[in-house]
């Protein structure tokens, strides 16, 4: 089916699910109407809680769900809507208090009712969840610890919020409504079990083994893995996967890496790993023969999703990894389309995969532009950064029909995108990939 169509279908389902609680509230028997502020407060509470519940679906890495949008967009949406949900949930008690100040007694954690106690508990945990996520780095929380805390707090928030709704809910006033809410909450929490228990269990039966660790330039290490006793998987060039290292797939210690290898090879994969954190550092020093587990492929940054008469790949630093996957795949497919690769790093030794790129020139209609910020004295190619002037000089004449794939540090991508737009490249022809997914 058409990708856009699937995207629209899932969005429609999403809107239905998000609005279902409001619809359910209007199914008789309904309580008599109360003042505007109380009803608004209740509605915002329900809307906020629904969004919190939906989060468990968003982070479930369901490929059919994320396929139309790309999982990076879904995860970004997860962060955005989480903040919105928290604000809506916080407005809920405030409006109740404004409408009738005597309700202040409900805010006493030792007084109030069981409903208010569970509500307060859920809100406090929700705030803790947001603080530890937004300021994780400032609070110096390790990624693995944060994932554990994040998952745990998320489950507790939903459980306590469900208890609050069940006990307080004037709108959950019939048995079938109570059951519907309970079943939904249990179902959502069990998605965590799928992601953290069932999925690893399935991964355990499809292990991979490290067969090569090769240092490339710029602190990047290329790691080759091969499927052990299974036929691997197909992916689109430019996609990525979450990698776990070690004996057990039942760990929260996993990180996303882009494939660098050709999509035409299904049982042997390569990743470009740059030491950006503890996990990457460990991965760089790993021994051959170590078992790894791969959750993928994910992501929508792929030439397979953007057919065009030619491509321009613009990479900064370790952002070369998905470009290598593009180039290797196109070479294996014997693709005749013209390709321009613009690759920028600080110094010449930091250019990763440079030999491989040279070798690919024999098999592809490939033109390369290496851009160094600190070039050696005899450097003949470009120097500085990827700027509008450079693009003006180097971009091919058919720039308006080519598709542009940009992957690199955030500021670089922003600058390149602006420069491309200034030079008449349509927004819809530019594809960006941030490698900090978090």
């Amino acid at each position: 089916m058409n990708r856009t169509l699937i995207g629209v279908v899932w969005l429609s389902v999403y809107l239905f699910v998000v609005l279902a609680p409001i619809g359910l509230m209007l199914v008789p028997p309904v309580p008599t109407g109360r003042s505007f502020l109380v009803e608004l407060s209740v509605a915002l509470g329900f809307v906020g809680l629904t969004q919190i519940g939906i989060q468990f679906v968003l982070i479930g890495r369901f490929k059919p769900l994320t396929y139309p949008y790309g999982i990076d967009v879904v995860l970004k949406y997860h962060r955005q809507i989480a903040i919105v949900a928290m604000l809506l949930v916080l407005i809920h008690p405030v409006l109740l208090l404004i409408e009738h100040p005597a309700r202040i007694v409900l805010f006493n954690p030792f007084g109030g009712t069981y409903a208010s106690k569970f509500g307060i508990l859920a809100v406090l945990l929700l705030i803790a969840l947001a603080v530890t996520s937004v300021w994780r780095e400032r609070l110096k929380i390790r990624y693995e610890h944060w994932r554990f805390v994040h998952t745990g707090l998320g489950i507790l928030v939903l459980v306590f919020a469900q208890a609050h709704v069940s006990l307080a809910g004037l709108y959950i006033n019939t048995l079938w409504k109570q059951i519907l809410w309970l079943v939904s909450s249990v179902g959502l929490v069990s998605l965590i079990a799928y992601l953290r228990l069932i999925k690893p269990w399935l991964q355990q039966r499809r292990p991979w083994r490290i067969v090569g660790v090769r240092p490339e330039g710029g602190g990047t290490v290329n790691i080759d893995i091969e499927a052990v006793g299974h036929d691997g998987f197909r992916f689109h060039p430019g996609q990525f996967a979450w990698i776990k290292v070690g004996d057990s797939p039942f760990t929260l210690d996993e990180h996303p890496y882009s494939f660098a290898s050709s999509a035409e090879k299904t049982t042997g994969l390569s990743f470009g790993v740059k030491a950006l954190g503890d996990f990457s550092e460990r991965l760089q020093q790993i021994d051959e023969g170590t078992t790894v587990y791969v959750d993928g492929p994910h992501g929508a940054f792929s030439i397979d999703r953007a057919q065009a008469p030619g491509y321009v790949f613009i990479a900064g630093g370790v952002g070369i990894t998905p470009m290598m996957s593009f180039l290797n795949t196109l070479a294996d497919r014997g693709d005749p389309r013209p390709i321009l690769l613009i690759y920028s790093t600080n110094t010449e030794p930091e250019l990763a995969y440079s030999e491989e790129i040279e070798a690919l020139k024999d098999r592809l209609d490939l033109e390369t532009v290496f851009v160094l910020d600190e070039p050696p004295h005899d450097w003949a190619a470009e120097e500085g950064k990827v700027t509008g002037d450079l693009l003006e000089r180097r971009l091919p004449k058919d720039r308006f029909v080519r598709r542009f794939f940009v992957c690199g540090p955030g500021p670089m991508m922003t600058a390149v995108q602006e420069a491309l737009l200034e030079h008449g490249v349509p927004q819809s022809h530019i594809y960006l990939e941030k490698f900090a997914l978090a």
Partner: protein, 205 residues
């Protein structure tokens, strides 16, 4: 492009959700006006109100179910978490007790005995308050303790008690000196009828 579209979607969705919630609140609170106009009430009101009619008790039960039952529970016991509202007929004969029973619904009540305050419910119509109070007095009275019909509330009596500007503490102070609901105990056996019509036959809501 995907990211831009996703951001647009997020903004549109958030605005939609907030507008939806406001729309919901508006629709629900607009019912107050309808209630005051008497449109949702049984027509028995207009052919000489007789609170003893079966329609009235059904109306009281419906009002109880949608407004009170979530806290005070189906048998009026409150299950230890909320005040029991059984055997309330004793209030009717106590000094000031008759007004107190209506005031606590109109203006709320807070005593400190229970964690949550009784929220004021001025949005209920006079007929709803009269009907639900009668329903509670009769239905949760316990064997042989139900007040006789001459003591039941009429909507016009509720109407005279509106507009007093009482706080829930004022209402608590006006409580007649009789044994508390807790002391009176629970255990009233209640015949729960759920098939009673919410509104009289042929009336739309």
């Amino acid at each position: 492009m995907r990211h831009i579209l996703a951001n647009v979607f997020t903004y549109v969705l958030v605005i939609g959700l907030i507008l939806g919630a406001m729309g919901f609140a508006w629709v629900r609170s607009a019912q107050l006006v309808i209630a005051h106009e008497g449109d949702v009430e049984p027509r028995v009101l207009f052919d000489g109100p007789d609170p003893t009619a079966a329609d009235w008790l059904a109306f009281g039960e419906r009002t109880y179910r949608v407004n009170c039952q979530n806290c005070h529970t189906v048998d009026g016991s409150g299950r230890g978490m909320y005040p029991p509202i059984q055997r309330m007929a004793v209030h009717l004969t106590a000094d000031g007790g008759r007004d107190y029973l209506v005031n606590l619904t109109l203006y709320g009540l807070y005593t400190g005995t229970y964690g949550a305050p009784m929220p004021p419910m001025p949005e209920l119509s006079d007929a709803e308050i009269a009907a639900v109070t009668n329903y509670i007095l009769v239905h949760f009275a316990g064997e042989g303790n139900a007040p006789d019909a001459s003591r039941w509330y009429f909507p016009r009596e509720v109407a005279t008690l509106r507009g007093q500007r009482l706080s829930e503490w004022d209402v608590a102070d006006s409580r007649p000196a009789i044994p508390s609901a807790r002391d009176l105990g629970r255990g009233v056996k209640v015949n729960i009828t759920t098939d009673a019509p919410a509104v009289p036959e042929g009336e739309d809501e």
